[in-house]
């Protein structure tokens, strides 16, 4: 019974995209009624999350499953594929976006901005989630491109929300960089189609291998560059720390957690399904090393917590590329786990920074102090994900890095050893960066700060009871704190349930390297037996102009 239900759920996987899209349309129609808008948005996302959790259960019990949209047969129609990796990404991304949405909604209610441009926030946010889900489910390259465009277009709007000068400036960099990477992706799709006559990823997995090695390399690198820009891999990461921190706190949080990971997801698919083999693994390892080191050195130099976190974000993308470059099941499994861990931890840190900014008026460590005394709860909420990010045992960051390093050790080449050393150094420097924030913003006295923010001093005075009139300061709404705490708890849960999760992610990695489950789910059980002839055979291509 339960098996039939799970199999049925996988056969309607596109619901994960359709639900947020319909929710967005409804929320847009109801833009005059903020309360209805909020209910619809949160309801639509919760339903999507429930659906995706059952998809995850389905993928865990039934393995890889594919849906052919509109009843068109596999290599010709649009396929959507649910396997362990995509189901896990769907659940984690929607859970995180739901928490951020609750946080943003509570912030909106607390600030009383019931109308104005904020009325487009909720619909746009749902479109973003739909785009992300579409990218994770896409079984063909062009649908992946469409998924990317949906989420990017929504992110352009969210990043420039309100249209203030700094946001427009940051938005221009972000939009231009994203558009150029999308054009590269589109060109790569055109060339792949010209070379193979298909864009279905399972079909490509069979056909790309028959091309000349030089041509394969060109197509492979074009895809990796296009995805590398979105994933913010060095040297294509320069745009990220400049554009993310200017957006509203919840928007930065969801961007930091999710958008780069969609790029990483696409890179993983490229490496495992489309172009298997270790042709460019050394290149990937070098890129991973540079991504980690350059990013973290940037982070140490920052005074603003948001900018610092943006740099650690680009730095830790390096760990995911690390696992991809090492290229064995242990490392790829650890990458899958690390992506899930990093989405949750990075998002919760950005949310906590939003709370800090709200309580103390600033997110620059030069202007902060005494926060541990002012708000012990805030201190705990920062401390747990920060240590998690730095990879202190027993947190999930440590477990993920340990898994990556085990993969690296079992590879054992000189480059792998250098990469291992780089990963350890990056981990220590991350600890240094977050410890600096902790020491300065939370532990030292506010009077010792270079330039303490007036709101911080006023809040502290109020706490001491030294001000005669208790002025009503901006306090932290319980819902915002609750949403942040839920995410932090989810991060801790990754540690508690690390055993089964690692088993699951190793299974995902094994299936991705085998490729058979994916290709057979899309093209049918005899996909490998009979070679599918090229529809663009010589007599088909011929033809004269009129």
């Amino acid at each position: 019974m339960i098996h039939t239900v799970l199999a049925f759920l996988a056969s309607v996987a596109p619901v994960a995209v359709a639900l947020p899209i319909f929710g967005a349309a409804l929320a847009f129609v109801l833009r005059r009624n903020p309360r209805a808008q909020r209910i619809i948005t949160i309801g639509a996302l919760s339903l999507t999350l429930l659906f995706e959790i059952s998809l995850l259960a389905s993928a865990a019990t039934h393995g890889t499953q594919a849906v052919q949209l509109g009843g068109w047969e596999a290599p010709f129609g649009i396929s959507m594929v649910v396997d362990e990796f995509s189901a896990l990404m769907l659940v984690v991304s929607t859970a995180v976006s739901l928490a951020v949405l609750v946080y943003a909604t509570a912030q909106g209610i607390a600030d009383g901005d019931e109308d104005g441009p904020i009325s487009i926030f909720h619909p746009t946010y749902l479109v973003l989630v739909a785009g992300i889900s579409n990218a994770f489910l896409a079984g063909d390259l062009f649908n992946l491109y469409v998924g990317f465009e949906i989420l990017l277009t929504a992110s352009y709007v969210l990043l420039t929300l309100g249209g203030t000068a700094p946001r427009i400036r940051a938005g221009i960099t972000y939009v231009v960089v994203s558009v150029v990477s999308s054009v590269l992706f589109l060109i790569a799709i055109g060339m792949i189609y010209a070379a193979t006559g298909t864009v279905n990823m399972a079909d490509l997995g069979l056909k790309l291998g028959e091309l000349a090695p030089g041509l394969q390399m060109v197509l492979h690198l074009m895809l990796l560059v296009a995805f590398g820009v979105k994933a913010a891999v060095f040297p294509l990461s320069f745009w990220l720390p400049d554009s993310y921190p200017t957006a509203p706190a919840p928007v930065t949080a969801v961007f930091a957690g999710l958008l780069t990971k969609v790029g990483v997801y696409a890179m993983v698919r490229t490496e495992t399904l489309l172009f298997p083999g270790d042709r460019i693994n050394t290149l990937l390892m070098i890129v991973a090393l540079l991504t980690m080191l350059v990013g973290i050195l940037g982070a140490i130099a920052q005074q603003d917590i948001k900018r610092l976190l943006s740099f650690t974000l680009t730095s830790h993308i390096g760990y995911m590329v690390f696992g991809l470059g090492v290229g064995n099941v242990a490392a790829l499994g650890a990458t899958v786990y690390y992506v899930a861990h990093h989405i949750i931890v990075q998002t919760s840190l950005f949310l906590v920074t939003g709370l800090i900014e709200r309580r103390a008026g600033s997110s620059s460590v030069d202007r902060l102090g005494s926060l541990a005394k002012l708000s012990p709860l805030l201190a705990i909420l920062f401390f747990v994900p920060a240590m998690n990010l730095a990879g202190i045992p027993p947190f999930s960051g440590f477990l993920g890095k340990l898994g990556l390093m085990q993969g690296g050790v079992s590879l054992g080449t000189p480059v792998a050893w250098i990469l291992l050393a780089g990963a350890v150094v990056t981990s220590l420097l991350t600890l240094l960066a977050v410890a600096r924030v902790w020491n300065r913003a939370f532990w030292r006295r506010a009077e010792d700060a270079e330039d303490p923010h007036p709101q911080l001093l006023a809040s502290l005075a109020e706490e001491d009871g030294t001000t005669a009139v208790a002025t009503r300061r901006r306090t932290l709404p319980a819902t915002m704190v609750g949403a942040t705490a839920a995410l932090v708890a989810l991060g801790v849960a990754l540690t508690v349930f690390a055993g089964p999760l690692f088993e699951f992610s190793d299974q995902a990695a094994r299936h991705m390297y085998e490729r058979t489950p994916y290709i057979e789910a899309v093209l049918g059980p005899d996909a490998f037996e009979g070679y599918v002839p090229d529809p663009r055979s010589p007599e088909f291509v011929g033809g004269e102009g009129p």
Partner: protein, 110 residues
Amino acid sequence: MILAMTVGVLAAGGTYLLLQREMVRMVFGVGLLSHAANFLLLASGVPAWRDEPLVDRMDLAQAADPLPQAFVLTAIVITLAVTIFMLALAVLGHNDDTRRAPETGETHEK
């Protein structure tokens, strides 16, 4: 051949314009670049003239490949939306860094 050269010229012009400082030029650059990509997509089908790909009405051996055309249509729609958004950004943020560099605050007459 002409198609290939058109793609080349468009991509070169688009890249040049993208490297300019003014936002409107950059928007034109994006326009040219995505046109180059669209032509390239079209060229991945058969560039010669073929019949309309309508099932049951055409000899399938004579029909064009509908997929690249569908790709190009989708890409055009997306580019149109993004171009409009970028033009809006150009209006809102006009001249925001042609006279004053925001990081250093240095000004120059123009």
